[in-house]
Amino acid sequence: MSAGWATVIAVGAGTMLLKAVGPVGVAGRTLPASLERVLELVAPAILAALVVVETFAGGRHLVVDARLAGAGAGVVCVLARAPLWVVVLCGALATAGVRALQ
């Protein structure tokens, strides 16, 4: 088996398991109230981390590049209460625009 296919199979199987942990292992059970409160806060914590990683991470380095313009455009759109598709479009256009100028 080629390295490519071995990777495809191992990553696919591993990811399917990770995605299944909650819906298959925990579904339907009532969890302790303190754990429920933690889980409710998982979403804002992970989304905030995703914003930082998608904006500043370049491998193991913090980098400032055209993506910051995209993130900034997104913030402006959100403050202007634009719909989601406008936010995404402005983010892409701002990033592409700054990159074209460089």
Binding site: M16, P23, S34, V38, A43, L47, L50, V52, A96
Partner: protein, 208 residues
């Protein structure tokens, strides 16, 4: 589920374009087109697929590629647990439906399984279809970075975060999560900062 499919419509072209860019990247890393499409259909998690293929393309081994990808996808354990309550039915059904959990479907759903599945199905077809086009049409498409798609994702996640940040504790946790991720990026493997940020959520443990 219909509502989810409508919500996902504006993301469909972006997901397809990113899928195409993954397809192109996979071919440059000497994966055959079928392997690229199978990976998109089974793994269905963009950043981890890009990471795995980049490691292979850069001369790294299978073990390094798999480790990088699974580290990036470890966040799906806490994400899946946070939506687990809404999943019902047989184990096989829940296993199949859980595969539609991706960042965007989870964040848009806000705990509504129907919305999650609707968004997930739309994005799955966009991602797998895009991969096939990219893997087969190859370099004819051009460099996806020129379209600014990478910067669009930060904007998308910020918008989704803004809809969630409706209470003081959520805002505090979001700021703490962002700070944790920023501090850890230079010191840990990609993927670790995102999982570590979930530690901020434990601020809710004691609060009654």
């Amino acid at each position: 589920m219909r509502r989810g499919m409508r919500l996902a419509a504006p993301l469909f072209p972006a997901a397809a374009a990113l899928g195409a860019s993954f397809g192109v990247l996979a071919r440059t890393a000497h994966l055959d087109a079928a392997a690229a499409v199978v990976m998109s259909a089974t793994t269905f998690a963009g950043s981890s697929q890009v990471a795995a293929v980049s490691v292979l393309g850069g001369g790294g081994g299978v073990a390094a590629a798999v480790a990088a990808a699974l580290l990036l996808n470890a966040r799906y354990a806490p994400i899946g647990i946070s939506v687990a309550r809404s999943f019902r039915g047989s184990v096989a059904k829940r296993l199949a439906q859980s595969q539609l959990v991706v960042d965007e479907s989870w964040a848009l759903s806000r705990g509504d399984r129907g919305v999650l599945l609707g968004v997930g199905v739309m994005l799955w077809f966009a991602w797998v279809g895009g991969t096939a086009i990219g893997a087969l049409a190859g370099q004819a498409i051009g460099d996806p970075a020129a379209f600014g798609l990478d910067g669009a994702f930060a904007a998308l996640f910020f918008a989704l975060l803004a809809t969630l940040a409706r209470s003081r504790s959520r805002v505090v946790v979001a700021i703490a999560g962002a700070a944790l991720a920023a501090v850890l990026i230079p010191f840990t493997a990609p993927g670790v900062p995102i999982i570590a940020a979930t530690a901020a959520a434990f601020a809710g443990w004691r609060r009654a």
